[in-house]
């Protein structure tokens, strides 16, 4: 697999495998990431401080006082060459509840109208697909997931919202996501997920990891409120929505 090395200042560099969203590129990224983490743990990458896997590239952060770009690349070359043969990560499977009703779904009607289908069909399409968690980023625990069914694809909102509520389930440009935090945002809001995606007190603060697979299960507004209350009082364990548990890359790191 071909790749490019891109400079990201004096303290990071990016290995880019491609410019599009494609599970084959993700497989190479995750294979390289896992190889680097293993080498780091064995003490074979002095000065490398952390890595950030994304859809199509891996950014390697290093301490410029301890090493430099050329020294890091020298060690990475064989790992990069081997990463092209990487197979998709064996992530965990989740079934997360989503309320697609009322004020939890402020853009549902407009999305249905724009796409020329009914709101029921939007919900059926969105919840009838299993998504791959391509990467986490933008906000702590924010999962970029894909791919949306063709019929649900539309660009970002022309007017981004100043305030997207935490828990919002959103779509844009072939992807779906859940906002773990209130933030500005330009995606279309289809529903609300009551499960907290990020909790600094957990050993693995992010619920989801790159390579995981997620399915959404529609719940009513009443069920959603009950789940929220149960989660807030710790009567409900967020791990109950885990379908299967092979070891995720995130926990191995």
């Amino acid at each position: 697999m071909s790749f490019r090395v891109l400079d990201a200042g004096d303290a990071a560099l990016t290995i880019e495998f491609g410019s599009i969203i494609d599970p084959a590129l993700l497989a190479a990224v995750n294979a390289l990431d896992a190889a680097i983490v293993r080498l780091q743990q064995a003490g074979g990458l002095p000065g490398v401080t952390e890595t950030m896997p994304t859809f199509r590239s891996l950014t390697v952060f290093f301490d410029p006082l301890a090493t430099d770009r050329d020294a890091v690349l020298g060690v990475l070359q064989p790992l990069i060459a081997a990463a092209g043969q990487g197979s998709p990560a064996d992530g965990r499977h989740w079934r997360l509840p989503v309320c697609y009703e009322g004020e939890a779904a402020p853009d549902l009607a407009e999305v249905a109208q724009t796409l020329g289908i009914g709101t029921d069909e939007v919900i059926a399409l969105h919840s009838g697909t299993e998504y791959l968690v391509y990467m986490l980023g933008f906000l702590p625990g924010f999962p970029f997931m894909g791919d949306l069914p063709e019929r649900l694809r539309l660009p970002r909102r022309t007017q981004p919202r100043v305030r997207v509520p935490a828990g919002s389930v959103a779509i844009a440009t072939g992807l779906t996501a859940i906002y773990p935090w209130e933030s500005p945002g330009g995606w279309h809001l289809l529903g609300r997920c009551p499960v907290p995606l990020f909790d600094a007190r957990r050993a693995a603060p992010s619920l989801l990891a790159a390579g995981d697979r997620v399915r959404f299960v529609p719940v009513s507004a009443d069920e959603c409120r009950a789940l929220e209350a149960g989660l807030a009082s710790a009567d409900i364990d967020p791990l109950q929505w885990l379908d299967s548990t092979p070891s995720p890359a995130e926990n191995a790191a």
Binding site: L6, D7, A8, G9, D10, A11, A12, L13, T14, E16, S19, I20, I21, D33, T49, E50, T51, M52, P53, T54, F55, R56, S57, T59, F61, P64, L65, D68, R69, D70, M135, L136, G137, F138, L139, P140, G141, F142, F144, P180, W181, S183, F198, A200, P205, S206, A209, A210, E250, A253
Partner: protein, 350 residues
């Protein structure tokens, strides 16, 4: 048991938060480093206070911070080009910055304003906030670190541990670093090929100005428009502190400590780590220029900057135990009761 000693925030000024070296190792799950905007200032403040170099400090923006010792004496040091005032029952007196001072119970310290730059670091003996994911740094957006994940507010009381008292003599940095007006250095890329060649020339050759949108997340600049060759969009990838993102309108945004960890705008260049603190200290309206270097040159500059910082720390001297502040003595007015009407501390507040 003696009453617990606290540091009370009487006023946070424009923005003040608890920061340390940053929350490292979690960018892969979307958690920015946060941490101080100028590591050198943090290290100097802590060295002046006799603390470890990356102990948690109070980072303050644009002055206005007012602190008081409660329940006991508190030892503090301030790094940054500030105008300081010490207030006790005997009244107010100006205090030289870049030194440590002990506030007796009830006494106050005010950063009246910044003489230069925007950032000051206040090191406090006994300030040991709990680490969240490995760091005490405040990251407001996700409510991590500091005091309940929030910026410091008037009335906040920071409990101090009882360590290290008595503290001995105060310390001073006799020759603080001068403001450096040289261009901010950047490394072209990672997506400079998404721009017309003239764009990088414009960025490096032209003058840019800091807008009012400048905070811990980043700094929006205005200046020559940087034209993309195609869409002003990429498939989101990692950002780093220093990334210069260019959205469709062609005006650059430099990302800092609290910035999002991934973004979909092409990044024309990256400011080198040694110059990020200098950039963050620029005020809205202030002009700046950029100069291009290679990544390897950036690393050499980082090592040279580290040597300078270590030399500064090594130059810190103990103030005489009789309390005479030689810096104040040599730079101030020697006749008691006469004030220097033109001195910075007597200029009107703006």
């Amino acid at each position: 048991m003696s009453p617990r000693t606290e540091l009370e925030i009487l006023s946070p000024g424009a923005f003040a938060s608890i920061q340390d070296g940053g929350r490292r190792g979690h960018r892969r799950i979307g958690v920015p480093w946060a941490g101080v905007l100028d590591r050198r200032l943090m290290r100097l403040a802590n060295a002046l206070a006799g603390r470890t170099e990356d102990a948690a400090v109070i980072e303050c923006f644009d002055g206005g911070l007012r602190l008081a010792a409660r329940g006991g004496a508190v030892k503090i040091a301030v790094a940054g080009d500030t105008v300081l005032e010490h207030e006790s029952s005997e009244g107010r007196r100006p205090l030289a910055p870049w030194r440590s001072v002990t506030l007796a119970d009830g006494e106050q310290l005010r950063i009246r304003k910044m003489d230069g730059g925007r950032i000051a670091m206040v090191a406090v003996v006994g300030l040991e906030p709990p680490a969240v994911m490995g760091s005490a740094s405040t990251y407001v957006r996700a409510g991590l670190g500091g005091v309940d994940g929030r910026a410091l507010a008037a009335g906040t009381r920071l409990a101090l541990t009882a360590d290290a008292e008595p503290w001995g003599s105060d310390r001073v940095l006799t020759q603080p670093p001068a403001a450096d007006p040289a261009p901010i250095r950047l490394v072209p890329g990672p997506q400079h090929d998404h721009f017309r060649p003239a764009a990088l020339e414009a960025l490096v050759g032209g003058e840019y100005r800091v807008t009012t949108e400048a905070d811990r997340m980043g700094i929006r600049l205005e200046g020559a428009t940087l034209e993309h060759t195609g869409a002003a969009e990429i498939v989101s990838d990692a950002t780093v502190p220093g990334s210069i993102q260019v959205p469709g309108a062609g005006q650059p945004i430099v990302l800092l400590a609290d910035a999002q960890t991934a973004g979909g705008y092409p990044k024309i260049a990256t400011v080198i780590s040694a110059d990020l603190g200098r950039l963050a200290a620029l005020r809205p309206g202030q002009a700046l220029r950029f100069a291009a270097v290679t990544a390897a040159e950036g690393a050499r500059i980082a090592r040279a900057a580290e040597a300078e910082t270590q030399a500064l720390i090594a130059s810190i001297r103990t103030l005489p135990p009789d309390g005479i502040d030689l810096v104040a003595l040599y730079t101030g007015n020697l006749v008691d009761g006469v004030v220097h009407a033109l001195a910075a501390e007597y200029r009107p507040l703006y």
